[in-house]
Point group: C2
Chain length 275, copies 2
DNA sequence: GTTCCGCATGAATCGATAG
DNA sequence: ACTATCGATTCATGCGGAA
């Protein structure tokens, strides 16, 4: 019997992250408020201010993340005056200067982004998932996210299986059939850096910025049970809910009181995990 | 009867672009050599040098492009020392300083990306298609690239009963209901900014960096017949071949003599177009 | 004339080994 | 220590020969 802790902190990430000890977090997964032209909305930071606003927070993230931990940032720049803003590009460069390694850029392909039409552009149906690390060596559990092999394989391999396996065994004779081991259990493969998920329909009363499968995928990939996940912009709490369900400790910080209450309702204060 | 001209120039883009008149090109579609760690390979430019190497070329591109024209750049940064290089980000910022507008970033999802397995990353399965313009107003022929409606949309529309539509119309007036009425009975929709194509499998004697459908899509989207397409890094000539077949004039520049000959063999010197 | 299957082949990346 | 080269790993695709 193990306890899974899910901690919700209400307030500003810039002030409250000091409560979190150094090198204590295995995964940071967050989707910060995107820069917006309009001020005075939730987290209304303009594109110009964005990097300066973010850097103090990421400095704290760098402090609390374990050396083997990973920071995943879900973000997509908006269109301002017919152009894509460049603040995300500038943020990546600034984070590297701050000491982060920019390990990878995953792409989330939002399959069913809602229809719409503009004269000078098509619907935006992808978002960036930027992976940053403190060191070149970090924890990654690739087998946790294997996916079924593509449909092409079913057609190609269906008549091939039994006869081909025996033939390969006979031919090699001596050694342990190298090829055979490749074919056996070949119904899953490793994924790529393109993540194919539908956006969630907001069937509940609150809408999340991303579907539960998105944090789930990264939590599987970068953490094990009993590890700790941090979301400094918890929003409606999707990351925390998923982390708790998956047996990971989690910490969420959220500045909007109504979201805070929502998260507290959504998560159990302490969940018992059977080991 | 109209003549379609396909011009192949052998040599260095930096020197030979001066032959092209100002404001004469409708679309630049190119895939420059990606930055490479090793020197002394084809186009061996290191990541550090890349921006400085590219800017003189893009200055010429800015000159020859029509005010309503579009520049599409296919590129993807490699991994260097366990990190993604940042030269593409820096290039985008530098191009904006040079006067280009960064209108959009399309995503090419390569379904059959190069295989491999590593301890710290998955296979890279996408490339950037950066769209730059000289002005906010540019030519775009969206109807030319309509795609068959996706299965998800079929399901969605199928389950959408009359009452649903009325209710939605009543609820928020504009928006969903209106769009749906546009959709009903249609079997094509506008695409998104994610392009889903497999790379060409080179069992032929020529290999191209990208499949013909890639330039084809952008040529459809940004040009009409009799327009002019430029590829300053023509490579095996895919862009030119496609442009010619689609009834667009084209100019290609290529520095490697053997590729040059290949292109000249692949394209007809002057194609007769029946109007 | 179809359909089926074997095979080669990539805009790759890491880690070990060698100079 | 620092760089250059090489082998191992892996999967979707289209061609061509076979059934």
């Amino acid at each position: 019997m193990q306890t899974i802790e899910t901690k919700v902190i209400c307030g500003d990430s810039r002030e409250l992250m000091c409560e979190i000890p150094d090198n204590s977090v295995d995964l940071i997964f967050t989707s910060p408020p995107y820069a917006d032209q309009r001020k005075s909305t939730y987290g209304g930071v303009t594109p110009d201010e964005y990097v300066d606003w973010f850097l103090p927070i990421s400095a704290e993230l760098l402090r609390v993340l374990k050396p083997t931990g990973t920071f995943v940032l879900n973000i997509k720049e908006k269109v301002v005056d017919s152009e894509r803003s460049t603040y995300v590009l500038e943020l990546i460069l600034a984070l590297r200067k701050q000491g982060w390694l920019w390990t990878e850029e995953f792409m989330w392909h939002k399959k069913n982004s809602f229809p719409g039409k503009w004269s000078n552009r098509f619907r935006d149906s992808w978002e960036r998932l930027l992976q940053f690390n403190k060191n070149k060596k970090f924890s990654m559990y690739q087998d946790a996210v294997r996916v079924p092999i593509g449909d092409w394989a079913k057609d190609r391999l269906k008549n091939l299986s039994e006869t081909d396996k025996t033939r390969d065994n006979a031919k090699n004779g001596s050694g342990f059939g190298k090829n055979v081991s490749n074919w056996v259990g070949k119904d899953t493969v490793y994924p790529t850096n393109v993540i194919h998920l539908a956006t969630e329909c907001n069937n509940k009363n609150h809408s999340a910025a991303f579907p539960e499968q998105l944090p789930e995928w990264f939590i599987k990939l970068f953490t094990q049970e009993q590890d700790t996940v941090l979301d400094p912009f918890a929003g409606s709490g999707t990351t925390l809910v998923v982390a708790q369900r998956m047996g990971r400790h989690s910490i969420g910080i959220e500045i909007m009181p109504e979201y805070c209450e929502m998260i507290k309702d959504a998560v159990e204060p302490a969940q018992q995990l059977l080991l």
